[in-house]
């Protein structure tokens, strides 16, 4: 088991070193997320004001759009010099490699969210500081569920020619339960009279989905990655 964490940690560290040098994924993903928010504002703002209760939806749409972009790019990097093969050649547990890529992606998306969430709050009047603990739990659990499936799909699409278009097509329908939980839970916290028990219920369902998605992904990674 220690081997599992050692390998996963090495993959995370490698991905982080590359990203700290180039900053490409964080910057492009962040800019893309902000653009999504901007487009939304054109669609819904009337007479200079956004309607209430839209912040949660906009936030999660931006996260999922930007997340797909980040997933595609992290695996494009592994494809560039065929390094994904080198990873699979290592005498390590294949699921450990998956776990490493997933954690790396989570850190990247976390960084993006640190800027994106306050920005959405500012532009659409969302009270993010009312229940910081619950909001952070929702963000982490939601991003985890989304990225867990996304990492698996992006990894298996590396070999496929039309991977850039196929990734969102495959990923969005599968991760709908996570998105629903994320949006509903966040909306419960952002609404005029916050509903804490409801948010707690959505967090519980979300965590259940996380457990299912992560287990299933760890389980499928090995057979799906052998050509």
């Amino acid at each position: 088991m220690s081997g599992f964490f050692r390998v996963a940690w090495q993959v995370v560290r490698k991905d982080m070193t590359v990203e700290v040098r180039s900053k490409e994924i964080v910057l492009t993903t962040l800019l893309f997320a902000v653009s999504v928010v901007l487009i939304f504002s054109f669609a819904i703002v009337r007479e200079g004001r956004a309607p209430d209760d839209v912040a949660a939806g906009i936030l999660w749409v931006a996260i999922s759009f930007a997340g797909t972009l980040a997933m595609g790019r992290t695996f494009e990097r592994e494809r560039y010099n065929d390094t994904l093969r080198a990873l699979l050649l290592a005498p390590a547990d294949r699921p450990a490699i998956y776990a490493g890529k997933l954690l790396g992606l989570l850190l990247l998306l976390g960084l993006v969210e640190i800027i994106l969430v306050p920005l959405v709050a500012l532009l659409f009047n969302a009270p993010i500081l009312a229940f910081p603990g619950k909001l952070i739990t929702l963000l982490i659990a939601g991003t985890l569920g989304f990225a867990a499936v996304g990492t698996l799909f992006a990894a298996m699409l590396v070999r496929v020619r039309s991977r850039d278009t196929l990734l969102p097509v495959l990923l969005y329908p599968i991760t709908v339960p996570v998105m629903i939980c994320g949006v509903r839970g966040t909306a419960a916290l952002f609404q005029a009279t916050p509903d804490e028990p409801l948010a707690r219920l959505w967090i519980a369902i979300l965590i259940a989905w996380d457990v299912i998605f992560v287990t299933l992904s760890l389980w499928t990674f090995e057979p799906v990655m052998t050509e």
Partner: protein, 231 residues
């Protein structure tokens, strides 16, 4: 592992036969060359030997082991592969690349292994430069040492001589001979016959996914290759 045997291996992609009816055996201490034009299936065969592609039929056995449900990682630990795309991260330095893979392969003394690998690649003074700033020859040397980090007994090389000048080629040949003396089995795919001449202890000619001939005498390789491939 002192013996590699390939029995009736074939690999199909849809209706395309990348490989069919591939059978050969070789022993430790050999340098086996897979020779053939582009698209002959050399890379696919190397990937199968590396266990990252499973054959559509037939089997490969490594010593007395076959890649089954459980033995995969144990077999992968004895294999070192240098791919055509070099398997290096251009955004990392040579030392970081080697360190990362040394950890991944569970090498015991990571720092020591990496610095001796850098010395072996003759790159100790450029160890902390990004791989993206290296010439093709330097990258190739790092990539080769990366593949040899964990002391593999089976070494697989895909077109290792492409883009190398004469000194680099000579250094690579010397390194391979040294590994051969150490008892490793080396399988390399190439279409550079001039280098292969005199280096290989066994040549296997591939054409359109099939073995069209083989040779255990590497002198006069060029002529026989032309005759075999043309016919």
């Amino acid at each position: 592992m002192n013996h590699l045997s390939v029995v009736d291996v074939a690999r199909y992609y849809g209706r395309r036969k990348a490989l069919s009816q591939i059978s050969f055996t070789c022993d430790a201490g050999e340098i086996v060359g897979l020779l053939g034009p582009n698209g002959a299936g050399k890379s696919t065969l190397l990937s199968i030997l590396a266990t990252i592609v499973t054959p559509s039929r037939g089997q490969v056995t490594y010593g007395d082991r076959a890649p089954g449900e459980s033995g995969g990682a144990a077999i992968r630990a004895t294999i070192g592969m240098l791919g055509h795309d070099l398997f290096l991260y251009p955004e990392l330095t040579a030392r970081e690349n080697l360190t990362f893979f040394a950890h991944l392969y569970g090498v015991a003394d990571v720092a020591g292994t990496v610095s001796s690998a850098l010395a072996q690649a003759n790159l100790s003074d450029r160890a902390d430069d990004y791989v993206s700033s290296f010439s093709r020859g330097m990258r190739q040397r790092v990539a080769l040492e990366r593949a040899l980090l964990h002391g593999p007994q089976l070494i697989l090389l895909d077109e290792p001589f492409t883009g190398l000048d004469q000194t680099s080629t000579a250094a690579l040949v010397a390194r391979l001979r040294e590994r051969q003396q150490a008892g490793c089995l080396i399988v390399l795919a190439t279409h550079d016959l001039d280098v292969a001449e005199g280096l290989l202890s066994r040549a296997i000619y591939l054409k359109e996914g099939r073995i069209v001939g083989s040779d255990t005498d590497s002198r006069g390789l060029v002529d026989r290759y032309r005759r075999t491939i043309r016919s």
